[in-house]
Structures are given as C-alpha cells and as structure tokens.
C-alpha cells in the first residue's frame, strides 16, 4: 500500500535531492560560493564550452587565470571579452576594473568588446604591491562585476588573498598570467578555479580571400576544479557599426550606410542592442565556436574568383 506511494515520491524527489546534496557539498567546500545564484555564473556565451564547465560557465566569486600561448594579446582579448560579458550580465549600471601597468589599451578597440568609458575603470599601478592592493580592494568592495589584473609574479599568498577577496565581495577575479609557451607551467598554476590558455590559430592557407575574417583563437582549458580539461577553437566576431561581421560585404555595406557621417562613428540607426541600464551602445562582439574550414578547394577557389570579380567590378 505504501510502497508505490513512496516509490513515486522517490522518483519525483530525486533531482531535488541530488541538487540539495550538491548544494551541501558546495557549502562544505566553499561557504561563500554556495550563496551564489545560478545567474551569477559568468558564461562565455558558447554553449559547447559553457556546457563543459561544471558551473555552466565560470564559477562565481572566484579566481580564474588566463595565459597567452605565444603572445599575450589574444589572452587580453579573451579577458576583455569575459569582462564585457560580466558587465552585461549584471544589467545594472556597474563597472569592471582592469588593473595593469602598461597603458596601451585602446578605447575604440575595447568598445567592440562592450567595454566603454561608462563601465570600465582602469587602474594604472606602478608597483606590484599597489596593483595587487587595487585588485583586492576592487574585489572586496563588491562594487565591481569583475576585476582583471596583470600582476607580474604573484606569490601563492597573493593569489590566495585574491581568491578570498573574490569570495568576500562576490565578484569574479581574472588574472592575466603572462605568456606560457608549450610545455611550461604558468606562474599561477594551482590557484583559482580554472586556468585558460589562449593562442592564435594560423589562417587556413586555402582561404585566399584577403579579408582576414574574425580572430580565431585556440582556447585551452588547462585546469578546471571539479571538471575536466578541454580545448576549443573559437572565433571572436567583432562588431562594426553595431553589427556582427561575418562577411566582408557586410563591412562595405555598413561603411556605405554611414558614408555621410563625418564623425567616423555610426549613427544611432545602426545600433540594435540595449543593455539593461537602457544605455544604447553598439552590440559588442561575441565568441563563437569556430566552424571547420571549408576544405573543398573548389569552394575556396570560387570565393577567390568572387573576390577577384568584385575587385574588377570596383575598378571598372
């Protein structure tokens, strides 16, 4: 008599019970992390990668390290893309903090990542001590959605402090961890929840279209607490005039549309997306899993032929 009833309850309750157990484990492991809501998870916007990560994205209120493979620039790009996603995720009029030493960041380039004067604060530290202090303050205050820092030689203590500060303030901490060539370990390996390495991928030689297309990165997940490693080729689709660019023709079209605009920037007409705060700005670019290169040489050749034809048409 009671058997079917209890069995039925067992069936319906099992996912809840599982979630509760998971929650309990989390609480035991990281007390502050357990407070985070699913919405706080910083996703990459690429379903394949987000699905691979145990939290469905980057774990909230914790430290994540990013290294470059050959040069730091793609890693900076990936970090900027994450920061851009962090400000959009929160919706409110909040900021992200970028603590660094150099000053070569370029505002027009950053705006394609969704980082503008309204939501990006840059700390230009002279000394390592100040840089780590600024990162910690930013994390602990809870006023920042994410804090990105480029310390030179972070000590294990400093990394631990950053992790604790991130937990206290509930913000995501990103660490740009320098260049890490193949076979070497990063300086901050072992710290934080995930460790990424970002490198560029050489353009496929078959594609003779002069337009370089979206930036292509090899995204390697070297370490992931509670998950497995992985590697994905991704494309960074930047936006021009507020539109995501997939073809060269699109750029030409947009430029023609704005030909009469003498400020060199698009008019409001070209902007589609609104953020939560209601400030209209151009849709930032986004990450996509790279599509396999069309290996048929016929297709590539046809494309080249098209490009040549277009050039002829333009010159004629």
């Amino acid at each position: 008599m009671t058997m079917p009833d209890s069995a039925g309850r067992q069936q319906s309750a099992s996912p809840d019970a599982l979630a509760a157990l998971q929650h309990q484990i989390d609480r035991l492991e990281r007390p502050t992390l357990a407070k985070a809501k699913p919405g706080d998870v910083l996703t990459l916007g690429v379903p394949e990668i987000d699905g691979h990560l145990p939290w469905g994205g980057l774990a909230p209120a914790s430290l994540h390290a990013i290294s470059g493979a050959e040069s730091l620039t793609p890693a900076i790009g990936f970090a900027a893309a994450l920061l851009g996603r962090a400000t959009r995720a929160s919706g409110a009029k909040r900021c992200v903090l970028w603590c660094r030493r150099g000053h070569d960041l370029y505002a027009p380039g950053l705006s394609s990542f969704g980082l503008t004067a309204a939501n990006l604060i840059i700390v230009n530290a002279v000394e390592e001590r100040d840089l780590l202090w600024a990162m910690e303050e930013g994390l602990r205050s809870g006023a920042m959605d994410a804090v990105l820092g480029e310390p030179q030689v972070p000590s294990p203590t400093a990394l631990r402090r950053l992790q604790l500060a991130a937990e206290t303030g509930g913000s995501t901490a990103l660490l740009l961890d320098g260049v890490m060539p193949d076979g070497e370990t990063g300086r901050s390996i072992g710290a934080g929840m995930t460790h990424w390495r970002v490198g560029t991928i050489a353009a496929p030689v078959a594609a003779l279209d002069p337009w370089p297309g979206p930036s292509r990165w090899r995204l390697e997940l070297l370490r992931c607490r509670g998950g497995t490693t992985g590697s994905w080729p991704v494309d960074w689709h930047e936006t021009i005039g507020g539109e995501e660019i997939a073809h060269r023709e699109q750029i030409i079209k947009i430029r023609e549309e704005h030909a009469n605009d003498n400020t060199g920037t698009p008019s409001r007409r070209g902007q589609g997306i609104e953020t939560g705060s209601g400030t209209a700005f151009g849709a930032p670019g986004r990450l996509r899993l790279a599509q396999p290169v069309c290996d048929g040489s016929a297709a590539a050749l046809a494309d080249t032929g098209g490009a040549a034809e277009r050039r002829r048409a333009a010159s004629g």
């Binding site: 620039t73 070569d104 394609s112 990542f113 100040d130 205050s141 292509r216 920037t265 400030t279």
Partner: protein, 487 residues
C-alpha cells in the same frame, strides 16, 4: 646678525637685539661694523631659507586663524605676518588672550617679535614696527590717535618718498595728515594718500592670504599634545563630525579635505584626501583618512588640529529613491574610486574615453575616473566603423617592409629584430591628416601625410595594424610603422 653682498661689499642685512643694542643697523658696511664692535659674529644671509622659514611660520600660525599672509622682504627687518583675527578671538577667550597665546607661542619658538592689533592692516603694521611696544592693541576706530606720533615710514612708503617727505618737514603721520591733500598728491603721486587712507580705514586694502581660506573648518586644541594614533583617531572623528555638520547645514559636500596638525615645535603635519563627488558623510571621509593616517606624523605631539574643507560642491540632501535601480551610481563604487584615487593618485584611476577624431592616437584619451561623468556621448558608443586594435603602441614604431609592388600590402615585415611573414592582409584604410587643426600648407610640404592602414595576419594567426606614412612617389622613400595589435 646676517650679512649679504651688496654692490660688491658685505653689508648688514639683518641684526638681532644684541647687535641693535650696540647701534648696528641694517645697511651698514660689515667693515664699519667690525671697526665699531671688534669680535663681531656674522653669518651670510640666505634669502631662500629665510623665505621658507617665514612661510613655515605662516603655516604654523594657521592654528590661530585660517587667514595668514606673509609680508615683506623675509631677510630684512620688516619681515612680518598678517593675521586676520576677526571672529577668531572667542576661540581663545578674547582678542587679548589670543595675543597672549600668540606671544607665548612665538617666544617658545624663539622668534623675536612685536605685534599689534588694529582695525586696518596698515595701522597694525605701523604700530607693530614703530609703536615701541612689544604688544599693542589699538582700540576700534582709534587709528588716527595711534598713528599720529609715528614716523611717516610707518605708512609702507618707498624710501625715496619718505626722504622727500622729510625734506618737506613732514616727519610724523600726524603732520602728514595736517597738510593739504592736493599738493601732496601732485608732489608724490597718489601712493602716499592711498596708504594714509588705508591705514586710517578710509580706503579698503586687499591682501592675498598665504593659503586660500577654507569654506568650512573645524578646530580642536588640546591641553596636552597628542602623539598616539588612538588619540588622533578620536580627534579625527570629532573634527569630521563638526565639519560634516557645517557642510550639511550649508548643503555643501566636500571634494577636498585637509587635516592639519600643529606640532609642538612649530611645524605642521598635513594630510589631504579628495573625493570624486561631494561628500558630507563623516564615515566615508573617516575611512579615506584612516587609509593614509600612517603618513601623518605627529612627531613630539600635536597641540592643535584643524580640519578644513578646501573645496566644496553643492550637495542637496539625498532623497531615497523608490526604485533602487534607476541609474543612480553605486555609492559603493564612488567610495572604491575615492580609495583607489587617494592611494594611487587620481591620475592612475582612469576611464578610457573615445573622442570624435580620425587619427587613431587621438581617437581615445584617458581621463581620471573621479572627474569623468559616467555618462558618455552616446554617438561615440556605437563602435568604430572599421576594425580597431585592442592595443595601440604609444608611438608608432618603424618596421622594414617588403611588398611586391607599390600600393600592395606587405608580404614580409621586420619589427623589433624579428621577421614576420604575412599570410593575409586587409586594407588599405586611408586616414587623412587633420589639416583643419594645423597649418594646411603642411599638406603640400609633406610634413603632414595621409596614412594607409593595413590589418595583417602572420603565419601564427597574430594580427597587426601597420601603416604606410604618405603615398608612394617615385622620388620618395616611404616609411612603414607598426601601430597596434588585434586580439
């Protein structure tokens, strides 16, 4: 006694009381003085150090009044300080008590001094220097009586004018006052009459104080000097409470607050904090001060502490918003920016603002985060119409380039001693120089040239932004530059 070189000989610049007692006067030659007083000790005068000492004394007199001006040639006999003590007497129990305090203070520091209080700066100046008393107090509206027996030099006149007046038989201010004004003005110019009127209070005189007078200030003095951090913390809390109450009453908020501690030895310890927006919350300011209190050294102890709001802005009382998410900036964020700015310096906490300019290096500028309004020009927020790099070199760096034909993107380039083979290239994007900002004739002389920008991708997939300066011309060598990096 100090001496200074004047017209090729050593001349007495200033004398102390002992030297004055044996009839030595500034202006005498040192050789004459040595003849009069064998074994005379003298030091070379150091006008810069003397000026500095006078300024430091002016700073430390800030404990009596916020309005202090230093006056006169610091090395001469007439070096002095003006203190505007209107409204300050009650803090000390009357003006006489203030004078007594000031006198005791200067005695302790070892400065020989004379002082006078009067309604006008001119009268005080004359009485202090020529009145003969160490401490004089001219009664209100009594300047004429006090000044009449004093020599005309007491009116701060040029030596030539004083000599001229003496030749006319006018030796005292009283005599000068008795003569007809018109001939006097005709003979010596309006200066004499102006000084007379200013001293008597018939003509206003403006003197610029040594430091700007703060809008609001709070002051505490202590029976025993405090040197301990706990004591300073408590004092700071009390001062902040008083100051913020004043600010709130005036509907003002502080943008810059200066804490001044007057040490027992006459020196001054200062600590300044700035805020990004007007603040009248004592807790916020207290936290900003606490960060920096380590740099506030009381040494042997602080006798008087003054907290002054140097810069204020209008701050209307807050009205609690019904909807918390209506675009108000997060006070937490403001506080964070203030802390970062106070420790690292405001110019190190930045926002990158875009500008409507074509030349890439001018298309962005960094502004202090505390000053920049969070809202930016919406027209610039749409993103550029062409790809722009994530990183831009501060100055373009020359590269050596190989291109198959002119006007073709490079196939190989060398940057910082390393060759790069170009796989794909996009361009050119021609960016014209800003001839409307500079002399347009430079366009023809070649000082300003258009740039052709190319996006290059090398074998590894790294992307560069390079440009060629100027157009190809048969007789001209073109230069290529590396300017930025795409992610």
């Amino acid at each position: 006694m100090t001496v200074g070189a004047e017209r090729g000989s050593w001349t007495i610049a200033a004398v102390n009381d002992a030297a004055a007692a044996v009839n030595l006067r500034p202006g005498q030659a040192l050789a004459d003085a040595r003849a009069l007083v064998p074994g005379l000790e003298s030091r070379e005068s150091d006008p810069i150090a003397e000026r500095r000492a006078l300024d430091a004394l002016a700073d430390s007199c800030g404990r009596f009044t916020p309005w202090v001006a230093s006056e006169g040639d610091a090395s001469g006999m007439c070096a002095g300080l003006w203190l505007d003590i209107s409204g300050c007497g009650h803090l000390f129990g009357g003006e006489d008590a203030l004078l007594e305090d000031l006198q005791a203070y200067l005695d302790r520091l070892g400065y020989a001094h004379r002082m006078a209080v009067a309604d006008t700066p001119g009268a005080a100046w004359a009485v202090a220097r020529f009145g003969g008393e160490r401490r004089a107090h001219v009664k209100p509206d009594d300047q004429l009586k006090a000044l009449a027996p004093l020599p005309v030099a007491g009116l701060r006149l040029a030596p030539a004018t004083v000599e001229g007046l003496h030749r006319m038989g006018l030796r005292t201010v009283g005599e000068l006052r008795g003569v007809a004004r018109a001939p006097l003005a005709a003979r010596f110019g309006a200066g004499v009459l102006d000084r007379l009127d200013q001293a008597l209070g018939r003509w206003p005189e403006t003197i610029t104080p040594h430091r700007p007078v703060p809008v609001c200030r709070a002051r505490l003095s202590f029976a025993e000097p405090i040197a301990h951090r706990n004591g300073i913390d408590a004092v700071l809390d009390k001062l902040l409470e008083t100051l913020c109450a004043q600010l709130a009453e005036a509907h003002e908020g502080a943008r810059s607050v200066l804490l001044t501690g007057f040490r027992t030895d006459g020196t001054v310890a200062e600590l300044r904090v700035g805020t990004g927006r007007p603040v009248s919350d004592p807790a916020h300011l207290a936290r900003l001060f606490r960060e920096k209190l380590d740099g506030f050294d009381p040494e042997y102890g602080i006798e008087v502490a003054i907290l002054a709001a140097e810069k204020t802005d209008r701050l209307d009382p807050d009205q609690a918003p019904l909807d918390a998410s209506d675009g108000q900036t997060d006070p937490n964020l403001d506080y964070l920016l203030d802390r970062l700015g106070n420790r690292l310096g405001p110019s190190r906490v930045l926002r990158l603002q875009r500008q409507a300019r074509h030349l890439p290096e001018y298309a962005a500028k960094s502004v202090p985060a505390a000053e920049a309004p969070a809202a930016v020009d919406g027209a610039l927020d749409g993103g550029p119409l062409a790809s722009r790099p994530l990183r831009l070199l501060p100055t373009p760096e020359p590269i050596q380039v190989m291109a198959p034909v002119p006007d073709h993107p490079p196939v190989l380039f060398r940057w910082r001693q390393r060759p790069y083979r170009v796989v794909r290239a996009d361009g050119p994007e021609r960016i014209a120089p800003e001839w409307w900002r500079e002399d347009p004739s430079k366009l023809f002389t070649g000082e300003m040239e258009a740039r052709d920008y190319y996006r290059l991708e090398d074998e590894t997939g790294a992307r560069f932004w390079v440009f060629r300066g100027g157009l190809y011309r048969p007789e001209k060598v073109v230069h290529w530059y590396m300017h930025g990096f795409f992610a």
